[in-house]
């Protein structure tokens, strides 16, 4: 198969775009597309201060790489979760992020949850009822809180995450199956900031996961190959695999599902529920971050309970 632009040997064939590209042209195509989405969805401008949440995976490191190549000023944020899973998962992912930052002369902020909050995520999950023994719920809650805190305290204009099209479509699929109208109303390439909540953007939201993985490989980015050990068997991965079966029969199906959803949302399909979840925000009396809860936010309640149970068990 030949590159459509130069007729050299192609390294990737993107059936949904009817486009095959060689390595050099593919490495140009990804930043071109990313810039197009940044501009289309008005994510940020040339002088914005961007905080990129990095996990050591292909998407977040790929995004950090692309933003740098496009000339944006982007710092990285790595959150140390203390997950081992027999493979030293967190330690290895932190090493990948640090090595990338050092090799590219970029600034990386590291927040170690155990150091700051007093326990690793798996320990915290074992000491709280939240998530019913699985750490994913405590992990997600903690990451959202830390990302928002660092973005807000650091004066960043925007928090960028490496969510790709497959991530977005899997979430959309799950929320549609459950008719979770509130979540559907909030999903999109940009989540506007308000009342102490950082503005969040997803510059890779229209790139297939296959494309972001290929970018990392062709670009020679050293990323952590394995997913978090707690994500094995996750529903999101099942949805992705299922959607990929459908995509195999109908190339472009995932992209058209996502774009049709964005159009429907823009036309007001979820307008009635879009204001409901953020309308009654107030500041948490402990950390000051916005919450819909009447007292402490879920993060402070969860971690206060974890620390209290740690004291009892000592």
């Amino acid at each position: 198969m030949k590159c459509r632009k130069c007729a050299d040997k192609a390294v990737i064939n993107m059936r949904q775009h009817k486009l095959a590209l060689c390595g050099p042209h593919f490495l140009d195509w990804i930043p071109d597309q990313t810039l197009r989405f940044i501009e289309k969805y008005r994510m940020f401008s040339a002088d914005s201060r961007i905080l990129v949440a990095v996990s050591g995976g292909k998407d977040s490191l790929g995004l950090w790489d692309v933003l740098g190549r496009l000339g944006f000023q982007a710092d990285g944020l790595y959150i140390g979760l203390g997950i081992d899973g027999g493979t030293g998962y967190s330690a290895e992912s932190q090493r990948k992020c640090e090595a990338f930052a050092e090799a590219h002369g970029l600034h990386l902020i590291v927040v170690d949850v155990a150091e700051v909050e007093g326990a690793t995520i798996p320990t915290a999950a074992s000491l709280t009822n939240r998530g019913k023994g699985k750490p994913c719920s405590v992990c997600g809650l903690t990451k959202r809180h830390v990302m928002n805190r660092v973005a807000r305290d650091g004066g960043y204009d925007v928090l960028a995450t490496g969510h790709n099209l497959d991530d977005e479509v899997a979430v959309l699929f799950g929320n549609t199956l459950n008719w979770a109208a509130g979540y559907l109303a909030r999903q999109g390439p940009v989540l506007e900031g308000r009342d102490g909540l950082a503005r969040k953007v997803k510059p890779f939201c229209r790139l297939y996961e296959r494309e972001t993985a290929a970018y990392a490989l062709v670009r020679g980015i050293e990323y952590i190959y394995d997913e978090c050990p707690h994500a094995v068997g996750a529903t999101s991965i099942y949805y992705k695999e299922t959607l990929n079966r459908m995509e195999a029969d109908r190339p472009g199906m995932k992209l058209s599902f996502y774009l049709a959803f964005l159009r429907a949302r823009q036309e007001g399909l979820f307008a009635e529920v879009s204001g409901g979840t953020t309308a009654n925000m107030q500041a948490c009396p402990t950390c000051g971050q916005p919450t819909t809860a009447p007292g402490q936010c879920a993060f402070c309640r969860t971690w206060d309970a974890v620390r209290a149970r740690q004291r009892v068990s000592v």
């Binding site: 390294v11 993985a213 490989l217 997913e227 094995v232 991965i237 695999e241 029969d249």
Partner: protein, 77 residues
Amino acid sequence: MTVTLRLRDKDYEVRAGMTVRDALLQIGIEPDSVLPTRQGELITEDEILMEGEHIRLVSVISGGSLPLHHLALRIRR
């Protein structure tokens, strides 16, 4: 002679002379779910597999690429 395809720590053997796509379908892996590499270089699915070579498959989904029977869905050939 055969060709070895390696996905994570598992090896699959197929006949030489077929395309990467046909080989993946034969061993039950959805072609779009992996990126095939030959000597560290990405290759497209129409490449013909050569005798004795080793192809490394990189899973597109981190932690993913379940065997097809987990999903009980067919692949169109």
